[in-house]
């Protein structure tokens, strides 16, 4: 579903992604972990067509980037640490707006379904600026899955959330994952990521330096695996 080969991304003289190779199969939930500045967000921005690769081959859902970006965007949902929502629109209006931009059919019905899925039906008419950070993040997931994307990219979705909001978010993400979507999530929260992901990839200095199935290691084992991977990189 996602295929990356020899990906290089430079910002001026700084090489952020260095001949990176990365593959994700259909239906997989991959957690990308790594230290700050490893290139996780840059990789997700390239996969979401917001940034162009300097060199290398990138394809999502069988379409190449950046050449077939519009086709990729139709099949992609993105949740970043910013909500990408309009504070002066209600929850339902935000979804209606994005639904129009994605040409979602039977939009009113779909908006209701999504609001129910993310547990915000009771706040459908309320302005987003009155929402807590956790509620905004749940709505952001709703926005990302509104058009039934095949691939979901999550950039540190737990950032800034309290424990209850994180638990609620995980519940939504599990519901999303069981529908067979391919998910790539960057995270610094190993325990939460381990409960969600089927595979861990460690990104360091612009390269995937190690990979392991999520169920192969305990929580402590994952920490040790992560540290060892960074030391060897």
């Amino acid at each position: 579903m996602i295929h990356v080969r020899q990906l290089i991304k430079r910002f001026g003289p700084k090489v952020v992604l260095n001949k990176l190779a990365f593959d994700v199969s259909e239906g997989e939930f991959v957690a990308l972990i790594g230290p700050n500045g490893a290139g996780k967000t840059t990789l997700l921005r390239i996969l979401s067509s917001l940034a162009k690769p300097s060199l290398g081959e990138v394809s999502v859902a069988g379409f190449h980037l950046p050449g077939q970006a519009a086709s990729v965007r139709q099949r992609l949902g993105v949740v970043s640490h910013l909500p990408l929502l309009y504070g002066d629109l209600s929850a339902a209006e935000n979804l209606q707006f994005y639904g129009r931009m994605y040409h979602v059919s039977a939009l009113d019905q779909r908006v209701k379904e999504v609001l129910q899925l993310v547990g915000l039906s009771h706040r459908a008419g309320d302005l987003v600026r009155t929402f807590s950070r956790g509620m905004q993040q749940r709505l952001a997931i709703g926005r990302a899955i509104l058009h039934n994307p095949q691939v979901l990219l999550l950039d540190e979705p737990h950032t800034g959330l309290d424990q209850d909001a994180c638990d609620m978010l995980d519940g939504v993400l599990r519901d999303v994952a069981v529908t067979g979507r391919t998910v790539v999530m960057t995270s610094h929260d190993f325990v939460r990521a381990q409960n969600l992901a089927s595979r861990f990839d460690v990104l360091s200095r612009g390269k995937i330096v190690a990979s392991t199935p999520a169920n192969a290691l305990s929580a402590d084992g994952l920490q040790a695996f992560y540290r060892q991977s960074l030391e060897q990189a």
Partner: protein, 229 residues
């Protein structure tokens, strides 16, 4: 999971306009900032300039366009800052639509905000300066000037909003580019106020139309490159 069809250009553009208007009707953030600024400029010039009847027609067109230009800059900055601050611009850019539809949607939204301010300012201006601005020819000049200003302003605001110094950068980028537009608008407006023959006004009207066509076309074509990282 079958992907949805790509939305049409017009539907995407209208969705952006709908979003901007709905959000603005709630907050009135852009309109109120523009209007208060415009009213202050009009009042300050009214007290600062002791105008004789003879000079009034030539000076007021300049004051009018200074008001629209400065108020427009505030509106452009606020409108684009709302897209940037919560990451909404990324949300727009990730939609599977022609990006020029996003640009035109933002231009129409900004233009409507300018028109809303002009609808209030023009009658008030007429009363305070004792000149009749409600002339069809003059309103045409206001329309043409506002279209060109919103067109190029939206593009440059999209660029400046990416920077930390966006509030300062927009006027620095925008004012040199809109000099021909403002000069033509001032001259054409003065022509209508002084009841000059059409042969004197026509060259300025032509310049306004040519400016609008060229700069809207260029901005439409380059918007995709401007929003690329």
């Amino acid at each position: 999971m079958k992907p949805a069809a790509k939305p049409s250009f017009v539907k995407a553009m209208l969705a952006v306009v709908w979003k901007d208007l709905t959000a603005e009707l709630r907050s009135r953030e852009v309109f109120s900032a523009m209007l208060i600024f415009a009213l202050l400029v009009v009042l300050i010039f009214n007290f600062a300039l002791e105008l004789e009847a003879g000079t009034r027609a030539s000076v007021t067109s300049g004051v009018l366009w200074v008001t629209f230009t400065f108020a427009g800059t505030i509106g452009l900055n606020r409108s684009m800052a709302q897209e940037k601050d919560r990451g909404c611009m990324d949300g727009l850019l990730m939609a599977p639509v022609d990006r020029s539809a996003i640009y035109l949607g933002k231009v129409i939204g900004n233009l409507l905000f300018m028109f809303a301010v002009e609808v209030v300012v023009i009658p008030l201006f007429s009363v305070l300066y004792n000149v009749n601005l409600l002339k069809p020819g003059l309103l045409l000049v206001v329309l043409l000037g506002s279209v060109g200003y919103s067109g190029i302003g939206t593009l440059l605001a999209t660029m400046s909003v990416q920077t930390r110094t966006r509030d300062m950068l927009l006027p620095i980028l925008l004012f040199p580019v809109v000099i021909p537009l403002v000069v033509a608008a001032v001259k054409a407006s003065a022509g209508y106020l002084q009841a000059l023959p059409m042969t004197d006004i026509q060259p300025w009207l032509t310049l306004l139309i040519v400016y609008d066509v060229i700069f809207l076309s260029v901005a439409w074509m380059v918007f995709d490159f401007v929003v690329e990282e």
